[in-house]
């Protein structure tokens, strides 16, 4: 089974989002004259963090479900009587 792609996407966007929003929170407001007075770093950083966390959540859930269903399969194989025991 492959690595669920939502995990790296989620991790990247959460990291970038946190970096941007923290920087936006502490940065000098004067630099936002360029972006029409809007603190785009803070706002967009938050948007990206939310997206990243959502992806992480979906990725983790799918990975856990997958691992669980695989465990179930193994369990069933254990429970099934082996050929020798039937003989």
């Amino acid at each position: 089974m492959h690595l669920d792609i939502r995990l790296p996407i989620g991790a990247l966007f959460t990291t970038l989002g946190i970096l941007l929003s923290v920087f936006g929170f502490f940065s000098n407001p004067a630099i936002y004259a360029q972006s029409l007075g809007i603190n785009v770093n803070l706002i967009w950083g938050l948007v990206l963090s939310v997206f990243g966390l959502l992806m992480l959540l979906l990725g983790i859930r799918a990975t856990l479900l997958n691992a669980n269903s695989r465990k179930m399969v193994f369990r069933e194989e254990e429970l099934r009587p082996s050929k020798e025991s039937i003989d």
Partner: protein, 599 residues
């Protein structure tokens, strides 16, 4: 332009992730199927996003912004009629043969359906073409790094000559792409393409937001631009009454049919993404899922060009309010954020045939980025641009290593080797492909005309392709000799048409007319579209004619390769919204509505 540490940090985090994905996937890449076809195990939405992202390279992001600034909203034709219908067609009608035949590449399908010579022709021309496309991507990226002065400051601090910036940009991008494909193969390329898709959205969405706010929204665009910029269909009845310089027939047949279907339905670069899907249903849904974001991409890539153009009148009205130095350099002829194009050798403005200075439209989007993005977001915006360049390059490299290994090395150099051997060859082909891309990128730097000429030759080779596939898939009588003769004569017809016609205002040579001038087209685009139409029709007619006089192919060999001899894919277990035909219909209706809304 000064990047601060936060920008560098963002770019660095991205590069770390890109390479990290390659390393993480290394342990899953054990067989040649894993390496070349991602083990045929990816879900449809992942393949779908990779499907458009592989095409969302440098030429697309910078080029469509440039066209948006030059031609206006009519650029959307490259999406709405130049991509969507073909994507729906390949998903519904062609994917059953590509995926169902278990061919590992498009040239391999041609061998199964026709014969060895048709496959060889397609494989070799395709392999060369991918190397040059990836070289062009690399060249564009290094050039952008240079033009935006991203590395000027660090290089000056370290005492390295500025001339090295270009080489550094080239080598670093080559090594990164090599790194992640070498280890993870197609899976790694696809994962990174999906990542890059989201990054491009994340980097360009705030640009459109700030840009639209600044010009005063759609009403502001309307107020500051000539009405011809904001229509896609009005004026299309005559080439002289629209900005593209084409008429509706050339547009819909040339772009909407021949060129678009030729690319989206037969180019292995995109088809490979669908072949990596985990099932037939997923493979068929791949291009359909891709069509949905593709439909909306004009907002992210064309609109910035329009915004850059619209800012003109507003900036010329109050020039003091333009702080961007890049935009201020040429106050005389500059339109807004778009500077005058200069001859790199003489630094003189380049003039068009009417003696007016030409604008460097390619800088529309990069300059808009510099104008509105403060440090921090600027790092993200640049990362998005770098991501788009690398995804374009990686798409070509993965297509190259597969075609080289399966369609050139395996049949002609060393057949019947162990799987591990072909896996190794694929990895070596990745290294060779990246190295040769660097060579082609340097060729582009030194011989600008060679590049133009090669692109022209590729256009000739590609134009007739869709006729061959259409006949091959839907007419069982088509023979290998017919397909081969059709392809060659189609290419010859394209070259002949180009040699006999010329766009208005161009000089004889690379632009056409090198045999004689029988017809003058109103624009280069019109000439391109008609070249494609001539090539396609010639290939179509010759393929049919030669097929009819050659030996009828053995039908038992064509099962699974031709429509009338193949069972329809079972889809009764799918709910209605999962059925490709319904999904395709909904997409086409939405596209028509978009065309009507922005007519």
């Amino acid at each position: 332009m000064g990047l601060t540490s936060i920008d560098w940090l963002i770019i660095g985090v991205y590069f770390a992730f890109v390479l990290g994905i390659g390393f993480a996937l290394k342990r899953y890449t054990k067989s040649s199927t894993d390496f070349f076809l991602a083990g045929r195990s990816l879900p449809a939405w992942v393949c779908g996003l990779a499907f458009i992202s592989a095409n969302l390279g440098a030429q697309e992001v910078i080029g469509m912004g440039a066209s948006g600034a030059k031609y206006g909203l009519a650029t959307s034709h490259f999406y709405w009629i130049g991509a969507i219908p073909a994507m729906v067609f390949v998903g519904i009608f062609m994917m059953p043969f590509y995926y169902g035949s278990r061919a590992r590449s498009v040239p391999e399908y041609l061998r199964l359906r026709f014969d060895e010579k048709t496959r060889g022709l397609n494989a070799i021309s395709f392999a060369i073409m991918t190397l040059f496309s990836s070289g062009i991507s690399m060249y564009a990226m290094a050039k952008l790094v240079q033009i935006l002065h991203i590395l000027d400051l660090p290089f000056r601090t370290l005492g390295i000559p500025q001339a090295w910036i270009f080489h550094t940009g080239m080598v670093v991008s080559a090594l990164v792409v090599l790194g992640y494909i070498y280890f993870g193969g197609l899976t790694s390329a696809i994962y990174n393409e999906v990542l890059q898709f989201f990054l491009i959205v994340a980097g360009f969405a705030p640009l459109v937001w700030l840009g639209m706010k600044s010009v005063g929204g759609w009403a502001g665009l309307k107020a500051s631009l000539d009405p011809s910029y904001l229509h896609s269909w009005v004026g299309m009845s005559n080439p002289h009454t629209n900005r593209l310089g084409v008429e509706w027939f050339g547009l819909t047949m040339g772009l909407g049919f021949v060129l678009s279907f030729g690319y989206w339905c037969t180019d292995f670069l995109v088809v490979q993404r669908a072949m990596a899907a985990d099932s037939m249903t997923s493979a068929r849904r791949t291009p359909l899922i891709a069509a949905i974001p593709k439909m909306l991409l004009p907002v992210l890539v064309i609109l910035p060009g329009l915004i850059a153009m619209a800012l003109t009148s507003q900036l010329t009205a109050a020039p003091a309010s333009a702080p961007s130095s890049a935009a201020r350099q040429d106050t005389q002829a500059t339109r807004g954020l778009i500077p005058v194009k200069r001859n790199p050798a003489t630094n003189q403005p380049e003039l068009d045939t009417n003696g007016r200075p030409q604008l460097d439209y390619d800088l529309a989007v990069p300059n808009l980025l510099l104008r509105y993005f403060p440090t921090g977001l600027l790092g993200l915006g640049l990362t998005a641009l770098l991501a788009s360049f690398m995804s374009g390059m990686a798409g070509n490299v993965t297509a190259f290593n597969t075609v080289w290994t399966h369609d050139i090395y395996e049949p002609y150099i060393r057949p019947n080797a162990a799987d591990a051997h072909y896996l190794m060859v694929g990895r070596m082909a990745t290294i060779a492909g990246v190295a040769l891309s660097v060579v082609t990128a340097y060729l582009a730097t030194h011989f600008n005309n060679i590049m133009d000429m090669l692109q022209l030759v590729f256009a000739f080779v590609n134009a007739p392709l869709f006729a061959t596939f259409l006949l091959g898939m839907f007419w069982k009588r088509t023979t290998g000799h017919g397909a081969f003769a059709g392809l060659l004569s189609g290419t010859a017809a394209a070259a002949l048409h180009h040699g006999l016609t010329i766009p208005a205002g161009s000089s004889v040579g690379i632009k056409g007319g090198w045999l004689a001038i029988l017809h003058t087209y109103p624009s280069e685009m019109a000439q391109n579209f008609w070249t494609a139409i001539f090539a396609w029709v010639t290939c179509f007619v010759i393929t049919i004619a030669v097929s009819l006089v050659t030996k009828r192919p053995d039908e038992s060999r064509l099962v699974g390769l031709v429509y009338s001899l193949t069972e329809r894919p079972e889809q009764s277990h799918l709910s209605w919204y999962q059925k490709p035909a319904i999904l395709g219909g909904v997409i086409l209706i939405a596209t028509i509505l978009l065309n009507i809304a922005f007519r």
